[in-house]
Subunit: 309 residues, 2 copies
């Protein structure tokens, strides 16, 4: 079983309307809702690939119930979210039908009490026991200490469970120091962490800060991996056009899938790049096109990275 | 007991943020939620005035449960909403903290099936029996026939229960023909119905179309009432500044309150105007300032309207 942690789960709502005009009244023509937060996205992709996956984090209020109802419908996915008093946040993406441009409104999320944070940490320790890997994903809700991921990484390492960290800012900086097995920053997150806008230098710096392996996502250019077993670049076979929302989460799912199956790094990276590309191609943000994934996975170019650094 | 009908209930969400910029990502700084839809607003004001009030209409999904949880907390208010498969709509008001300007996003509401509409009509008939008055408020959700209010008015009149109609467009046009006791259009709704931009002419026309009494809301200028007992204008004693959201619903509550207490028209109109003004003064949209209401109600100027028409 793979465990994914989403401390700031969300109900992702998409509104379609002709065009958003500030200070006007709009009738929304189409409404869609899905569970959101990076770890839940990762878990859905893993479940679709046939993995057993358990999700944890926090859930609360009517929005939390709506998230849980949709998760229950996913075969292979077990809901181990911890109830809290506050309500799970909403994110609203307002898509202009004319241009396709999106305006994003993100609620901050519920304030987690010290007792709720303690209850989560206890449940997390129990969930690690049967886990083959754990992914810690996304932002922290108010009330959770900024060093939260560092503590969760140490607990996973004590339990002998490989741990992947996908976050940004100070939680990433603190988390890396606790020596996670894998971090997956994008170029912006890497630059913010290390000060370097060169992904290779940044990834090397991130390893020196404590990450055993760094897999940097370079957008349409694929992935750069700096690992104890070697360095690789993995590039999709063609330029992919579409909606990149969720592509990074699908890449994380690919890395975890390959990790659980104990595949060598080049195959893990092929999976990650093909899943990300198949997600960009999907008409619904965060879904992936299975046929595209199966066609692309054998055609990802994985090359050894020779560095002068 | 006063019955209010809200066929298109809503969860009204207010987001505060520095300023809304299309195609950018925003972190919402403050989130508030309250039950919405005109009939629910009317009911809350009536309950605050000490009336026993029952609300009906439709509720569904996680949003419907959130609405019902908040209604349960209102003393004197009984929830008789009918469950449906679709989800209660959300309305989102995005308030720019800098300018106070609001951008409104309204979901269309759930599609009501013929079976759900039949179930509502049966429940409505039962709820009329103990009612001293009924208010039919707001827009119709998809699936409800456009002549819905006309049917509900005939049922109320057969049951001998006075009925107030507050809607717009074609549902208002059809509803008026079924001879409601009171309609409460604003100037725009009256102009759309009658083609006249003169409120007095419009209100007279609306009476000819079937309404026994017409109470036209003229915004800051108060109310104009054309009734079988006479014609009056009711004007607040001072110019009131604030947020007019919900002021019309508070005016409806004032009319119903006076109707249940069998007050003469001038006193009903004083209540309606003072409640509307006390709502404009409230910091939270749709609430009213009780002290302001109590201070204003004796100072509303109600004058006989002498017309040359």
């Amino acid at each position: 079983m793979i465990l994914t942690v989403t401390l700031n789960t969300a109900l992702d709502i998409t509104y379609r309307l002709p065009a958003l005009t500030p200070h006007a009244s709009h009738r929304v023509t189409e409404v869609t809702e899905r569970p959101g937060g990076k770890g839940l996205n990762v878990a859905r992709v893993l479940a679709a690939l046939g993995h057993e996956v358990t999700v944890t984090g926090f859930t609360g209020g009517a929005t939390g119930r709506a998230v849980q109802e949709q998760l229950t419908a996913v075969p292979g996915l077990v809901d181990a979210l911890i109830p809290v008093t506050g309500a799970t946040r909403r994110t609203i993406a307002v898509v202009d039908a004319r241009s396709g441009d999106t305006t994003q409104l993100n609620e901050p999320g519920p304030t987690i009490t010290p007792a709720e944070w303690t209850a989560f940490q206890e449940a997390y320790e129990g969930l690690l026991a049967p886990a083959s890997a754990v992914a810690l994903c996304g932002s922290l809700p108010p009330g959770v200490p900024v060093g939260a991921y560092a503590g969760l990484i140490r607990t996973a390492r004590s339990a002998g469970v490989p741990v992947l960290l996908d976050t940004s800012g100070e939680p990433l900086r603190r988390g890396i120091a606790a020596r996670p097995d894998i971090v997956k920053p994008n170029t912006d997150e890497l630059a913010e962490l290390t000060g370097s806008h060169d992904p290779l230098r940044g990834a090397q710096d991130a390893r020196r800060r404590g990450a055993h392996a760094v897999v940097a996502s370079l957008g349409a250019k694929g992935l750069l991996a700096i690992t104890p077993q070697g360095r690789w670049r993995a590039v999709p076979p063609t330029r992919i056009h579409g909606n990149p929302t969720g592509a990074g989460d699908s890449a994380v799912a690919g890395l975890l899938s390959g990790l659980e199956l104990q595949l060598p790094w080049p195959e893990r990276l092929s999976r990650a790049v093909a899943l990300a590309a198949a997600t960009v191609l999907a008409p619904v943000a965060g879904e992936f096109v299975r046929a595209a994934y199966e066609e692309l996975v054998g055609r990802v170019a994985v090359t050894r990275e020779i560095s002068a650094a």
